[in-house]
Symmetry: C2
Subunit: 248 residues, 2 copies
């Protein structure tokens, strides 16, 4: 019998053109679909919670697919991990409701952006963060992040998909420091296209002292895409978690 | 005028056949020598404190070289970092005594070995650690490490260079846990060839409960290479620091 499965997937996005399948290009979706084809001999279409961009990483992407599989989810997870390339791992796999949809059912999405804030580059952070040489002011960054909380129109920081509203509800937005890393965590019901990278690229200018917090607030309130600062590069961005209302 | 310089170098060892130059193979030494050739137009030989093996990383390798350079060490460090590939970085550069030798003058060397101790593999740790799936017992690991302190014959855990003694003085050897990582730090006056990896591979069996601490002690006291356990893989090993007696 065909059952729907739900999996939590982590990946190093460095060598992928994002999550979503694109012709013959390397994408996370096509790797997952090929792995299922190889371990179960069935052609499936993977549904994903978030279409992460080229070079963006995931710690907790959620996917779903329908499969005939008699050996239980644990064996399926093991088979998956034995076949998948080393830069993709399935961290959890379970049966789901037949109508579970990882994107439409998602209630909250959490992203993290990692800035390596040091004057000299590091061989160990280059694939995992954005290097900013000038010291960032955590207090200024935190003030800017505080303005993001609530249901607001984020048109300044990203494009909607056709015809959609640009209002999003942010329930957490905070900066913290861990040694040489300055990390931004944000949780919202959904995000506009490139919204996190646009927010980070603009707040970075605030943290460097080039823009005031008031200038950032004015940009936010302008609701015009051209008022945003530069977009931060993809290798610092992680899809950390997607949460759902109850057991789906 | 020719001056001797000293540099602290960090590298991701993944794509190198170790530190030391080997014909036309990619090594850290040859990358550094080529970078100097390109920024100063001089052919130099780099001296290194530790000949790290293929795939081994460094946070604080110390190197020295002689160069005619009139623009000061800061400009030299910048030129270096502009030319070096992204997996090598010069973190510090200064003038040194004309007879400073990073290997012969070294007083203490610190290595760290990183074990990723989790049942499912991680796309983010694969290049930086050794994955051990079975949970390791920190108390057992710590008991084994405690036996290493002092000046002892480590013939079980490594080969000496021709005719050399196998006695080494260990002044720190300890395990600690950071989230999913189990980390071994060791500081000694010098190390035998592959000694840290041989120690870690053998202590790992103790931490899994396959060998008793007494069996580990007996292997150490036997002073026979064949009594060691397996050698841990290179990607978990980091040359952390090399220290010198005074300002050299």
């Amino acid at each position: 019998v065909l059952k729907r499965y739900r999996a939590v997937v982590a990946y190093d996005g460095t060598r992928y053109l994002g999550f979503q399948r694109q012709n013959e290009q390397p994408t996370v979706q096509s790797e997952l679909e090929q792995a299922i084809q190889r371990c179960a001999g069935q052609q499936v279409t993977i549904l994903g919670a978030g279409r992460t961009d080229s070079g963006v990483h995931a710690l907790g992407q959620v996917v779903a697919f329908d499969l005939e599989w008699s050996q239980g989810p644990t064996a399926l997870q093991r088979a998956f991990n034995a076949i998948l390339p080393p830069d993709i791992a399935v961290n959890d796999l379970s049966e789901a409701r037949a109508d579970f949809h990882p994107r439409y059912d998602a209630r909250w999405r959490t992203y993290e952006y990692r800035i390596f804030n040091a004057p000299v580059r590091s061989p160990f952070h280059r694939q995992w963060s954005w290097q900013v040489r000038r010291p960032l002011d955590l207090a200024l960054l935190s003030q800017a992040a505080g303005l993001l909380i609530g249901a607001q129109d984020f048109a300044t920081f990203g494009r909607p998909t056709a015809g959609e509203s640009t209002v999003r509800e942010v329930r957490r937005a905070e900066w913290r420091v861990e040694k040489d890393l300055v990390l931004f965590g944000i949780e919202a019901n959904a995000f506009l296209y490139r919204m996190v990278r646009s927010l980070v690229g603009t707040m970075k200018i605030v943290g460097e002292g080039h823009w005031s917090v008031e200038a950032f607030q004015a940009a936010l309130q302008a609701r015009e895409r051209r008022r945003a600062g530069p977009t931060a590069p993809p290798q610092g961005l992680y899809l950390v978690a997607v949460t759902y209302d109850d057991n789906v």
